[in-house]
């Protein structure tokens, strides 16, 4: 029984690029181990037998170095007999080349389809930064009357920071803010943000509630709130949480963007050690990713609800995180949270707990919604999406759409409430 090797493990070799591969049914790829020089020589002998039509992906070299060869079906028996007769160990890397080819073809098609429109975009898989930025441009192009893209700044490493604005007109209407991906490893959040964006364009004019909301208010959606961190989770470290800023005097990188806001900054609930994942930064708003939002919120001046989305734990939280004293409109927030999680649970039964940050999870200082609340944004919430720890950050892609769907119901509840309770 051979181990199926995932396509990505076939190093550097795109099967479609192989000229000889027309019909690769039942062709196998073998990995041969040649223990000494004599054995390497034997494999070279095999190479010389042209009638076998062997295709060496990794040719014989030093003893101990693996030798990979694609063997057409008619030659398989002969090759294996040869290897066994000469004591050459081998494993079957790829049992059936054709099925891998088919898979790869599919992926290539999917890739091409993805880039054509937001209707063929695959919402049920995780995407790269480039793909998400591409999606944004597609959405704007498809709905120019409703959606526009704003750049609110640049990251530490120089990437643009984009926010999508959904508006049916007016001038600086009261607005709702939603952000996802402030902690880069929380991949289900950026993926949900993409889904929300599409959902808004689909539901405007179709769903009464959403239409009523957009007829009086604007929605701002920042899908990748920490682009540097997000890129890093793809390239180097899937578990990266913070920004990628350098801290003078330390070899450690990054600041926790959810401890960097100017609310209770410096108090218990964040770390002063740059090497930790809850490092608050040298001062509040030191992170450009945070400062950009702060500047935007202040200059807009009319944001009425602010929702920051994280994962995981299945929680809906309101201020405060840095102190135990209840927020002035705590009862109202609690009621609203309860309605929101009830709406969320109505779809798939997913249970969320709710409450203030400090009482529901732990003390956290310098957090986003403590600051937005202090700016007078009465309806400030933080979500922690699926799951409760079984997969954690590595939530299977198959759960992206259900997660986004149920979360949307909660968001809608909050947005509708905000619409109906102007202040």
């Amino acid at each position: 029984m051979a181990l199926r090797v995932p396509l990505t493990h076939v190093r550097g070799k795109t099967l479609l690029g192989s000229p000889a591969v027309r019909k690769a049914s039942q062709h196998q790829v073998l990995r041969i181990s040649a223990a000494d020089e004599a054995q390497v020589q034997k494999v070279k002998e095999l190479e010389d037998l042209e009638h076998l039509q062997l295709d060496f992906w990794r040719g014989p070299g030093q003893p101990g170095s693996p030798i990979d060869v694609r063997v057409p079906f008619p030659s398989i028996q002969a090759v294996k007999a040869f290897l066994e007769a000469h004591g050459l160990g081998y494993t079957i890397m790829i049992e059936d080349v054709q099925s891998l080819l088919d898979e790869e073809q599919e992926q290539m098609f999917a890739f091409q389809a993805r880039s054509r429109s937001t209707d063929t975009f695959n919402y049920a898989t995780y995407h790269t930064l480039e793909e998400i930025y591409g999606f944004m441009d597609l959405l704007v192009a498809e709905h120019p009357q409703l959606v526009s893209k704003l750049q609110i700044g640049n990251t530490y490493e120089g990437r643009p920071i984009y926010v999508l604005k959904f508006s049916t007109g007016g001038n600086n209407r009261p607005a709702i803010w939603i952000d996802t991906g402030i902690h880069s490893r929380e991949w289900v959040t950026q993926a949900s943000g993409v889904w929300f964006a599409k959902k808004i364009t689909q539901d405007y004019g179709q769903d009464l509630t959403l239409t009523a909301i957009l007829d009086s208010m604007d929605i701002f959606l920042e899908i990748v709130t920490n682009p540097d961190g997000f890129a890093f989770t793809h390239s180097k470290n899937r578990m990266w949480r913070k920004t990628r800023s350098l801290t003078p005097g330390s070899s450690c990188v990054g600041v926790d963007p959810n401890r960097n806001w100017d609310a209770g900054f410096g108090m218990p609930g964040a770390s002063s050690n740059p090497c930790t994942d809850t490092y608050r930064g040298k001062f509040a708003n030191s992170e450009v990713e945070v400062k950009s939002i702060v500047d935007f919120v202040k200059s807009h001046g009319n944001i009425k609800a602010f929702v920051s989305i994280h994962s995981y734990s299945q929680l809906l939280l309101y201020p405060y995180g840095y102190k135990a004293e209840p927020a002035p409109n705590r009862d109202e927030l609690d009621q609203l949270a309860k309605s929101a999680v009830t709406a969320l649970a109505s779809l798939y039964g997913t249970k969320f707990k709710y409450g203030s940050i400090i009482k529901t999870i732990y003390q956290a200082s310098g957090s986003t919604i403590d600051w937005t609340y202090s700016q007078g944004i009465k309806y400030s919430f933080t979500f922690e999406l699926r799951d409760t720890g079984r997969y954690g950050f590595l939530l299977p892609a198959s759960q992206i759409v259900p997660t986004a769907q149920e979360t949307w119901l909660a968001l809608r509840t909050i947005m509708e409430y905000t619409l109906n309770h102007p202040y």
Partner: protein, 292 residues
């Protein structure tokens, strides 16, 4: 059917579902480890709170700041996503000595680790978890009834063991689940066994203030089955609350059904502020371990 009880530290047996409670101690019953992880995750942390009046009302969860962790939560059963097959029915904290000790009583149900569609909840358990002096490794006393009977358990254990012996050496494997949360079905038993060892480590590290989830099996260093036992050397990443740190732990476990599980481990320490060497502070893969 009378229940059996076990103070934590009793011999390992099954993996597939609830284990028996054998009386010889150390290390843990397989299943107990899984349960423990759940228990510990679900306990609200016992913390000191500044204002005395916060202690006034007891809610059915954690020791310190009882209202806090339990706000919005009732005594209704809740789905435990992290711990398949368990369902919390009730928990009553009792602050013994607020600054030093924390005791939590829990009642919950269990079922098979990989339940079939529509299968009912099986075991019913009650547990008392006791943290002393803010130290890790809480004492745990668990009693269960209605577990699967011993013979069937042993049978299933042995089947699993045989299946594992036939697996090809997964040394090529990195990261289970992968970045997209996918676990290849053929590699699932490896993850399960890794999780078992991981849950033991998590129990040993849990305090009133810190609890863990197993984020990922990040590498398989060795998988030997040529002797009778399964000899498994691997690295997991633990996600630590409330620090949010990702902690690599190298674990070496040896399993033979019917015999106690042997677990040795070493978790990487966090870097000091001005540390040189590796340049990131989180989720660094461990390098050579000196004293493993």
């Amino acid at each position: 059917m009378p229940g059996s009880s076990c103070v934590i530290g009793c011999g390992l047996e099954t993996r597939k579902e609830e284990p028996p409670f054998s009386q010889h101690c150390f290390p843990q019953p397989l299943w107990l480890l899984l349960i423990l992880t759940y228990l510990i995750e679900r306990l609200m942390m016992c913390r000191d709170m500044p204002a005395v009046n916060e202690w006034i009302s007891f809610a059915p969860c954690g020791c310190s700041n009882p209202r806090a962790s339990c706000r919005g939560r009732t005594t209704q059963p809740e789905e435990v996503g992290s711990m398949p097959g368990t369902e919390l029915l009730n928990s009553k904290p009792r602050i013994v000595n607020p600054k030093k000790e924390c005791q939590v009583d829990l009642v919950f149900t269990t079922d098979r680790y990989n339940p079939e569609e529509g299968e009912e909840r099986l075991g019913k358990c009650s547990a008392r978890v006791f943290f002393r002096n803010q130290k890790p490794r809480p004492a745990i006393n668990v009693t269960c009834t209605r577990l699967i009977e011993k013979n069937k358990r042993q049978q299933e254990d042995y089947l699993l063991y045989k299946h594992m012996k036939q697996l090809k050496t997964p040394l090529d494997v990195v990261s289970i689940p992968d970045s997209h949360g996918h676990i290849d079905p053929s590699l699932r038993p490896i993850w399960d066994l890794a999780f078992l060892g991981g849950s033991y480590v998590m129990w040993e590290k849990t305090t009133q203030f810190l609890h863990y989830y197993m984020a990922q099996l990040s590498s398989v260093n060795q998988w030997k089955t040529n002797d009778d036992a399964i000899d498994f050397d691997y690295t997991v990443l633990l996600h630590e609350f409330s620090t949010q740190e990702i902690i690599p732990c190298r674990i070496h476990l040896v399993w033979y059904p019917g015999k106690p599980l042997k677990v040795k481990y070493h978790c990487q320490e966090l870097q000091t502020p001005e540390a040189s060497g590796t340049e990131e502070g989180s989720a660094v893969a461990p390098t050579e371990l000196n004293n493993f």
